[in-house]
Every structure is written in structure tokens, then in C-alpha cells.
Subunit: 256 residues, 2 copies
Amino acid sequence: MEKIEKVGSYEFLAEPFHCDFNKRITMGHLGNHLLNAADFHAEARGFGMLYLSSISRSWVLSRLAVEMDETPCAYDRFTVETWVESAMRYFTSRNFAVVNAAGKPIGYGRSVWAMIDTETRQPVNILEVNDGALSGYVDAEKVCPIAKSSRVKMSETAAFVREIATGYSDIDVNGHVNSIKYIEHVLDLFPLSFYETHRLRRFEIAYVVETRCGEQLRFYREETEPDTFCVRICKLPVGADEEIEVCRCQLVFEKS
Amino acid sequence: MEKIEKVGSYEFLAEPFHCDFNKRITMGHLGNHLLNAADFHAEARGFGMLYLSSISRSWVLSRLAVEMDETPCAYDRFTVETWVESAMRYFTSRNFAVVNAAGKPIGYGRSVWAMIDTETRQPVNILEVNDGALSGYVDAEKVCPIAKSSRVKMSETAAFVREIATGYSDIDVNGHVNSIKYIEHVLDLFPLSFYETHRLRRFEIAYVVETRCGEQLRFYREETEPDTFCVRICKLPVGADEEIEVCRCQLVFEKS
């Protein structure tokens, strides 16, 4: 069998309907391309979601951070490179580089994943899957020059800014709110006028628990330093009267 | 120069994060692929959006109807064929066939487009663009066996069902609500439990006027016959006290 490279490269197009009014791909759609690249890479190496579903396992995205020096414009073709940076029993780190058509890296991503047994919903040992297929692809050398995700610190006084009901379009193949949809909802907390003068440089999200359709999402926001915002998303489970934290984000903007 | 075929074919993947809890691509994402295919086809033949923007022209989608016998599942590859069915001075009809990996047509689409001058916002003569480039590609023979869009009839008593604020993620490169986002918002009017027992067979939308960010959208729904729903979307322009109709949809479901 031909030796498969540790790094996978996948070409994407910044589709016009995936771009914002600045004619640049939105962070949600870009994030979706990273997740697709991750899955294509994993599938070709024996540990993708399709294979996992055949053995009652699933990847669970725990953290995602994306930092862009430049965001692809409508109709730009770009390549997403992805590789496994490290793997432990219960967590693996996967990195991304976004490379423009001229071959210049214009951004990077970092992600952390766990694996669960889809019947028991319990974590399982990643290193045991498919005879340890993943271990052979760890590339600790390739550089990903952006900060790792860190625990987003927020005070208890972050302002409540929005409550939304989750619906059909929010829900993914697993019956939970789609990881990408949280990103869209968070971006929508900022008015269009803000995006006229600010560019989103870095987006970071840590997923805590899953949300089911019909659960209300509540958004709390805090500007922790100039143009850096933290957002806590909580859910109110149907029939419950106490909120649970669902995920937490950090957005770093720069003046455009 | 090589003769370009009248019909263009473009392959797409039903990406996992574009699928609903039934593991089938949502009508919004499918519609996006049709619009991409339309643009790829047009661009290759001298009348795509990129070319048009260089001469201060733009396509405006007036109507879209999609009817699926079968909806692609997550990871399915499918082909969208598209061709121009007819062209008049101010409107052109473009059709679509969705073909599965085995080569079987599983659905069709119809669309109607106008062209505007992006400076005056006035309609322009489609047949004059790029020396009448479009006329040479009309294919009136290829069959599209689904009903044409027709004026969706609704009574004045359709029930008011939702009001939403439009935000950053709704807005497209032209600064208006994205044609696809209306589809998502309309699908969200139906509870998840409805989709557990019903499959969306046909979706039809007629766009009337554009919505800008911050304008409120109001949704009115009526079940005109069993499992057939009409939805009228109105907007309340900022500062106005009277609604304007923005678009009108018809959804035909079948028991699944």
C-alpha cells in the first residue's frame, strides 16, 4: 500500500454565498471547511467519521481556534492543510494551515478532539481505534504559529445580550446543535456597523455540553480588553429552571 | 476556441455539517449548490457574476423551485447539471437536474433571473451583455419535468408565526439578506418533530424586494392543502410602520 502523507491538503473555494458584505468568507463557513478537511484527512487514514460510525464511535470536537492574517475573498481558491499534532488516550490535537492560491499561508487553526462510544456516550481510547491508525500520522514537527486555545476567563458579570430558540437548521446529523451554527450565532451578536470597521482576526470556541433542538440558548458577552470579546453560551433545558454552560468563545478583532 | 456545451455539470458533496438530523442535505445547502452551479456555468460562458461585476451588472434571482424525489445523504457525491432554458430581454430561465452517483436524476430545479445595472438598480437587457453571449447557450430541448413556479396564492388571513431580526450572517456580498438564508428561516418555522414524519418534496420561492441588515422579517404561514404550506415573508423597514412583502414560498411535504 502506498504510504500516505502525514499532512493532507484540500482545496476549497470561497463561494460567493458564503461571503459576508465585505466579500470575505465568514468564519462559520471557513470553520466548516476546516472540519471537512479534518474529516477527509481522517477518513483517508482509517479514522474518519464514516468509518467510526461503523464501529459505534464518533469524534467530538472539544476546541477550535482559527486565526487569520487575511481572509479569502469571494471566488478565491485556497488550500487547507491539516495534520495531527499529538495524540493521547482521550484527546488528540489537529492543526490547520490555510494557504492562498499563491502558496502563502494566510491563517492557521488548532483543534482538540475526543472520541466517544455513541451508545454509552462515554470517552474511549483514541489510540486503540483501527489498530492505533492515528498514532502513525502524528506530525509534531510541522509548525502552527498561533497560540493554543486556553481557558477563556470571563467574569460572572458578563452582560446578557440575547436569547434564541434553536430550530431545524441548527441541528446536525447527531441531533445536536451544529458546531458551526454556534459560531454564526456568536457573530450575529455584533452589529453590521461593527464589521464595517473591524476585522475578526481570531475566533476560539470551547464546547462544553451539547444542545438539543428546542432548547433556548442564552448569550453573555464581555469586552475583556479593547476589541477582544468573550461570549458564554448557556442553555436552558426544556422544563429546567437553571442554565447550563454550553460553550465559551473568544473573539479578537482588529481595526480594519 | 473550443465549443462549450450548453449544459454544464458540476460535482458536489453532501457535506456532513450541511445535513440535517435525518442525515440528508438541507434544502438551503442544496439550493446554494444550485446557485453555485449556475454561476460556474455562466462564468465559463461569459455571463457570470464576476464578469458582470466588472461591467456594473448583476444577476438578480427572481424565482427558484426545487423538487426532489430523493435527497442526497451525508457523504453522497452528486452532480448538478444546469442549462439556460430560455432568454428574453428582461428574464431568463435556468434549469437544473440533480443526478446521483449512479447517474440517476433524483431531482430538478427551475429558476428565473433578471439582470440589473448595479448603479441605477434598473433592469437591463440580458441579450445585450457580452455581445449576446447568453443567447448562444439556450437549450430548449433538455427536459425539466417539474412544474414551473407559479404565483403562490395566499389569503390575507395567513397566520403570523414569527418575527426575526436580521444580522451579520444573513447578509450577502451585496449587503442584502442572502437568498439562501430566507430558505433556512422558512424551514425553521416547522418543528423538528414535523421533519421526523415529513419529507420536503418541493420548495419554491419568489423574491420580491431586498431586505437590508437590521430590518425585521415577519413570517406568515398558511396550510393551503394537506402538507402544503405557503409562507409570506414581510419586512418592516427601519423607522417604517407598514410592512412590505419581501418574498413568498410554497413548501410541499410528503409523509416520510
